[in-house]
Symmetry: C2
């Protein structure tokens, strides 16, 4: 099968860079599922391109599309049989995150209870939060790396409730949250009061430069930017300018569901220019809970099959980096610019 | 404690960039061990800087050095008590690699038996090979990513015996090995004959450009370069020039035992210029077996305490990347230049 030719056709039709490997993986995924959201999860490239690929494969007589899902035709099956089956062989104990949560069972218990009362995701702020196990794993991971104990930590946008896990642990020296959504700032503040930990919470729109009292003040930051280059620059760039010394750590999530590997490349180059160094990139570390407003999204409109997702299908990689001597962040003001949408995004 | 000041002093004395975070971690490690090689394993920064740090701490009255190891003084203990304890909380099932080996038990059994007869590491070629579990995990990891089944694969330098695991699996379409050490090429060839798999083995010095019959011919490569910038450029650059289409995959190991995070940054920037994108960086994925010629190395000469390592202490991260449209490799000829040593290296 000419995957290179198909990849070229899809890249040009969807205006998103798709590789022969992406198309091949999609065929492997079609052997496992007929449902659109699971297909995206397994194929691991941007939503608009996956759906465009299904249209192309339909036109070529390789796939049938019905209300019940996608189905390989006999011709399609012949192609699929040549390719590698998509299998999940990630470690069943840590779900591929590589981290042992056993030492944190009390923290886990308390956080699991608290987060049941959390505000739901809303579309207005492009929210979509991770499973509590993801937040706990992110905490354990950064704990192991020495980025938590006795550290001053800032969380830029906190719908994943990192600040609550940090606060419950009692380990950081100081925790600051900047977050645009009042429901979340209220929830974090009232939880802190009830559970008896300190956290400075501030309502803030990350399109604006970080106030001076937060620059060069922290050892560690966490953020989960929307997946455009500009939003990554704004959110992660603010994070870097909040850091104090070389060897400070930044954490962010970045998905392939809304970002091609070309965009990943652009983000990597952009961030290296700020004089940071990537120390870890962990595939599918972050698992997001289906946010409930699927029908309002571009992804839904693009889908050739209108069914709600049953399983969690949106995942992202966890990036960790450290600052080097001479590092600098981004304090450009984006004012009210829409930095949240591009060709590849689809969940707003 | 002024970790920033100490870091600056060590950076200038050892001519290697060391961060306050590195120094802090070393104090955390000193709470766990008094042995030099374990200290380096836990501290996770270059050997020459770790030993230089111990000298500085000794001068400052924070550490005692004797034949039995390092020992924190009372003043040193006060500093250590302020810092984060270094703990291994990586998943006990997958050792933090995130990969499940259960599906490969037959392969594991066969490989474990075969590798017992392998040639030992020799200093002449800067050899040091990984544990068989590391090689098997590397295989499983790349299998999951779709880089093995039906693929044409080249291994550039193969003291880790990747080609044997690949051959035993029966899954790749084609396997090529280029390797300088005749003992290894002989061992791989005779194993292939005995076990009945195909592999093309060629004696080759990676300082020279890859012959034309190997360029743009493969889907996947594996390599484990010496840790200088030039050797990384040569080995990984040859790998990239061996790849065929966008979406091809490259794997390499890179340690912090012989490379500062500044060098990591330089390697990352250098490789991004070849139009690749990093998809995974997994900390401590590769565990090396103590190579036996420790006393002949620079690391030994630098160590203030002359004891042989008891446990494996040399680890490196596993990097995976994919090529993007317009990617290119490095086919510069280094002739007989010594590209294997720099300020930060110490195991040759």
């Amino acid at each position: 099968m000419d995957f290179t030719g198909i990849a070229r056709e899809i890249s040009s039709r969807s205006n998103i860079s798709v590789s022969p490997k992406d198309v091949e993986r999609l065929f492997g995924a079609l052997k496992k599922t007929k449902l659109p959201w699971e297909l995206i999860d397994l194929s691991d490239f941007p939503v608009p391109s996956v759906f465009e690929t299904m249209r192309v494969l339909h036109e070529k007589g390789l796939v049938l599309i019905s209300d019940r899902g996608f189905k390989l035709t006999r011709k399609g099956k012949e192609v699929a049989n040549e390719v590698h089956p998509v299998e999940d062989i990630s470690c069943s104990m840590c779900d591929g995150r590589g981290i042992n949560l056993e030492g944190f069972s009390q923290l886990e218990k308390r956080f699991l209870k608290i987060q049941t009362r959390r505000p739901k995701a809303i579309r207005r702020f492009d929210q979509g939060y991770v499973t509590p196990k993801t937040t706990l794993s992110r905490f354990a991971f950064s704990y192991e790396r020495g980025d938590i104990v006795g550290k001053e930590i800032i969380v830029l946008g906190d719908d994943d409730l990192m600040s609550i896990v940090l606060g419950l642990s009692g380990l950081p020296k100081r925790i600051t949250v900047v977050e645009i959504d009042e429901r979340l700032t209220d929830f974090i503040e009232s939880t802190a009061k009830k559970e008896g930990f300190q956290v400075d919470v501030e309502r803030f729109d990350l399109r604006h430069p970080l106030p001076r009292e937060h620059t060069r003040r922290y050892d560690t930051f966490f953020t989960d930017p929307p997946e455009t280059l500009k939003a990554a620059d704004a959110f992660i760039g603010r994070g870097i300018s909040a850091l104090r010394t070389p060897g400070s750590a930044g954490y962010f999530g970045f998905t392939r569901r809304e970002a091609s590997l070309r965009k990943w490349h652009d983000v990597q180059r952009m961030l290296l220019k700020y004089k940071i160094v990537f120390t870890d990139i962990i595939h599918n570390f972050n698992e997001y809970i289906n946010w409930g407003y699927e029908e309002e999204t571009r992804a839904w409109r693009l889908s050739p099959i209108k069914v709600k997702p049953k399983k969690n299908w949106y995942r992202s990689a966890l990036y960790r980096f450290e600052t080097l001597p001479g590092f600098r962040g981004n304090n450009k003001d984006y004012n009210n610019e829409n930095i949240y949408e591009d060709e590849e995004s689809s969940t707003t």
